[in-house]
Symmetry: C2
Subunit: 517 residues, 2 copies
């Protein structure tokens, strides 16, 4: 007979609640779900299999969207010659500060100690790419001669490095994984259309795959990508009331084509500099995912990004029961797999309760329990990772709503629609949470009350201040202008012109202010 022998490590340590310490809760969720951890290399994280599987799902969804909009993938060098990085002036000042610099190409042993070999010093240091505009545009010079070579629509999946002293798993690490689109166009109009199109792709992905509602808009001049004429962003609101920039799309004008001297012959036979866009999202999105949906029991995943959507757990006391419940668990799994569901059977030699705890902490949307009684009755027990909250409901009542005992066929048939419903519920729940922390604010007193007394969130405010006055707001309230939302992003109550909350100067439309990551 099988005897459960030990509890999993995770079962011994309940996680910190959000109310206790939000920052610690975030780290606890990551640890419990085995998503990632720090490495011995300062600022670099290790993405563990469960975290990486989420990233793979994100990659697949994004990549399909990039290809559907005509883009191809390619790969460019990890290293950028120092002189390239300085070709575009603003770009250089924006990125030169925080680079990993390669200066030698060999090691040698000196008095028993291994050191960089002085004889291997590079003539020109190489910078580990913080972003690839300069190295890619150097190559585009060979690829673009005529308007017939345009548009050039390329994306790269890669690792990049931006040296960071204070790191935070997924949100801010020295090395991170991302994709970067780099496109070249014959006209400003086309490049602008591409810039807007890819922001829409990101917003669609955020809302319909991640179930995170976002607000689209322009960044202020001070927040633009180094070298861009226009930076667009999508901004999500985390459960602690801080915004997270989830993706950016940049219109680069001719800045980089001039830096790399990339001209093309237009239809009239004249030489012109090419127009450019670039756009990217990164593993930071996993941080957004965690902070939008997870709860005090740990990770919550939208079904579309869950590496395991359903876990099936056999419940038994005797060897005979074990055999029978495992047979049924395997049948159930095979039937769900045939329906396109990502399913796993957990037959480890552990207490069922410990398994429930572990899979809940990993964010698996649905659990199916198969016990001897279920076999007798021809039923299955389906437990949801979460249900919509009903104000004032007793915990026991909510717990009952999370579990359903259904006739077998009905249970199997319910899985795909239930996953779809949970996906929609998460978006709805995130939207409600965000809206509950969103205010239309018309004076500094209310602004102060919101950010200092009520924990803050998104504030729709009129603004006509100077960059220095933006800094003043940042000092007083730790807030910044997240973006200047597009007209169709502004709720009815926030539409129209008004006066700046700080200066009283006229303002044509409201901006989105908040604290942020």
């Amino acid at each position: 007979m099988n005897k459960p022998v030990n509890q999993p490590k995770s079962a011994s340590a309940a996680i910190t609640t959000r109310a206790q310490d939000y920052s610690q809760w975030y780290l606890d969720v990551i640890k419990q779900a085995t998503l990632a951890e720090h490495s011995a290399v300062r600022g670099c994280m290790v993405i563990r299999p469960h975290g990486y599987a989420i990233w793979e799902k994100m990659q697949r969804e994004l990549d399909d969207r990039f290809k559907a909009t005509g883009h191809e993938n390619a790969y460019f060098p990890l290293f950028i010659p120092l002189s390239y990085l300085t070709r575009e002036e603003k770009h250089a000042s924006g990125f030169a500060k925080e680079c990993a610099v390669v200066t030698h190409h060999r090691l040698k042993s000196v008095n028993g100690e291994v050191v960089p070999d002085p004889d291997s010093k590079l003539e020109e240091p190489l910078v580990v790419r913080p972003t690839s505009e300069t190295i890619i545009w150097a190559q585009y010079k060979n690829w673009i001669q005529s308007y017939r070579d345009l548009p050039l629509l390329i994306n790269q999946w890669a690792n990049v490095v931006r040296w960071e002293m204070r790191t935070r798993l997924f949100l801010r690490t020295a090395e991170f994984l991302w994709q970067e689109g780099h496109t070249a166009h014959a006209t400003e109009k086309e490049a602008l259309e591409e810039t807007w199109r890819m922001l829409d792709v990101y917003a669609d992905f955020a809302e319909n795959v991640m179930a995170v509602p976002v607000i689209k808009g322009r960044k202020t001049a001070g927040e633009r990508f180094a070298g861009a004429l226009e930076t667009l962003s999508i901004e999500g609101l985390m459960q602690d009331g801080k915004a997270l920039q989830m993706g950016t799309s940049h219109y680069l004008g001719q800045n980089f084509s001039k830096g790399a001297d990339v001209k093309f012959q237009n239809k009239d036979g004249q030489l012109e500099y090419v127009y450019a866009s670039s756009w990217g999202v990164s593993t930071r999105l996993i941080g957004a995912l965690i902070m939008t949906h997870s709860d005090d029991a740990g990770l919550v995943l939208p079904p579309k990004l869950a590496p395991v959507q359903v876990v099936v757990i056999p419940i038994y006391k005797s060897d005979e029961e074990h055999v029978k419940t495992m047979e049924e668990a395997s049948r159930v799994a095979a039937e769900l797999k045939a329906l396109g569901v990502a399913v796993r059977v957990d037959d480890r030699d552990m207490q069922p309760g410990a398994k429930y705890y572990e899979w809940e902490g990993k964010g698996v949307p649905l659990r199916i329990e198969v016990g001897p009684k279920d076999l007798e009755k021809g039923s299955l027990c389906i437990a949801r990772r979460f249900v919509n909250e009903i104000p004032g409901e007793a915990p026991d009542a909510q717990r009952r709503r999370r579990k359903a005992f259904l006739p077998r066929a009905e249970a199997i048939a319910s899985i795909v629609p239930t996953l779809a419903a949970m996906q929609a519920e998460l978006l709805e729940r995130a939207r409600k949470t965000r809206d509950a922390r969103t205010r239309v604010i018309d004076n500094i007193a209310d602004f102060e009350k919101f950010f200092k007394g009520e924990g803050g969130g998104f504030a729709w405010v009129h603004w006509a201040g100077s960059p220095e006055q933006e800094d003043e707001m940042a000092k007083r309230f730790e807030t910044s202008i997240r973006n200047i939302p597009f007209e169709d992003q502004i709720p009815a109550a926030a539409k129209g012109a008004g006066v700046c909350i700080l200066t009283g100067k006229p303002s044509a439309q409201r901006v989105l202010m908040s604290k942020s990551y």
Copy 2:
């Protein structure tokens, strides 16, 4: 009316033939097919979209096989602290010679010149990973406590850097893309089984996806991975008679677990060091693909790795014909897509002949031409990228065999079986080419004749020499022992014991010798 206005650049320059200059032919094939090119960064290549699409297809096929054998993907840091690299003695001496070394983390402007900021010098230099055993085993220390945590079966898709002075696209570059599996086991037996299993996965991929026949075997002690107790390899033979090592799988024993102090409690409650394997293949495989199948017209791709399997080209003279043939081309493409075929319609404003030339150079297996006469007759013209060679056949006759005019329904139905047949033909052709350049050799005179007079290939020879005598062979003939093939890899004519071709000493089995990349 549409007038073709210009020829594609590629049409103007026919490629060097293999007979003229094999090395230049290789580079010309890559250039014509737009697979890759050198970058401005010494030793680093740019993988262009068509080359990267082939890599993506390889990744998908390999990743599916890794997951089917129980592996999960994860991601570890790009940087390795210098002290880690030196934890395993042989490993350090093997990899320390050719590393990119990061010594600073910031740049500054000094007298108008941007230089590494002396104040940002790292206390401990970081090495850009040449392979990840040391950094991964440092992490495994946290993950492995008990036999219950084993086996740990992890794979990583990543870029790695090994400084190279003499580079060759795909075959030898400073930075390359690869996958590296790193597994941990409770027993030597399990780790050895894993090492052998993954070599089989590679061999299956090489033969059944790449259509490249390979010989599996053990490397000699001198050719082992730095830090391994056993290195297995698969070896392919290129058209010029040189071998290419296409994948390796290493049994690492307890070398790395001792280096990183990774012990586990076994079932008897005792602490033991963990047993390890690692295994990898890289973008080098694209070089093997090119050199095995391509011909004097350019790239030839096995259908399973062709990003575009069928290109459909409308042929027309008038606008009216253009509309009609394009309609039919789109219908044909839609029908093929529904059959799971990767298809593209080429409606660019160019001469059909120039399009044929371009797609042939890119290795697309099948071309469908849709002209006004085909529409009238209800037929389609299908052209194959290659056909099996018939000795003594006139070029014209072969050209006729490459084109088939079939009734429409029959043509559509033939595509999937034809692609499958072409896949099989490529493997068969590659096997014949290899076998024609394979000899069982029993004395140095014949060995010399084979490698100096007949261009060489695979030589099955008995060997019992010393490492110094291996070096002697390398100097005299530029040959090396590719591997010591497994018993089931040895053809009947080469089986059995004999005497060493150099020393006359007894030898239990033959080894595989050849020149190599």
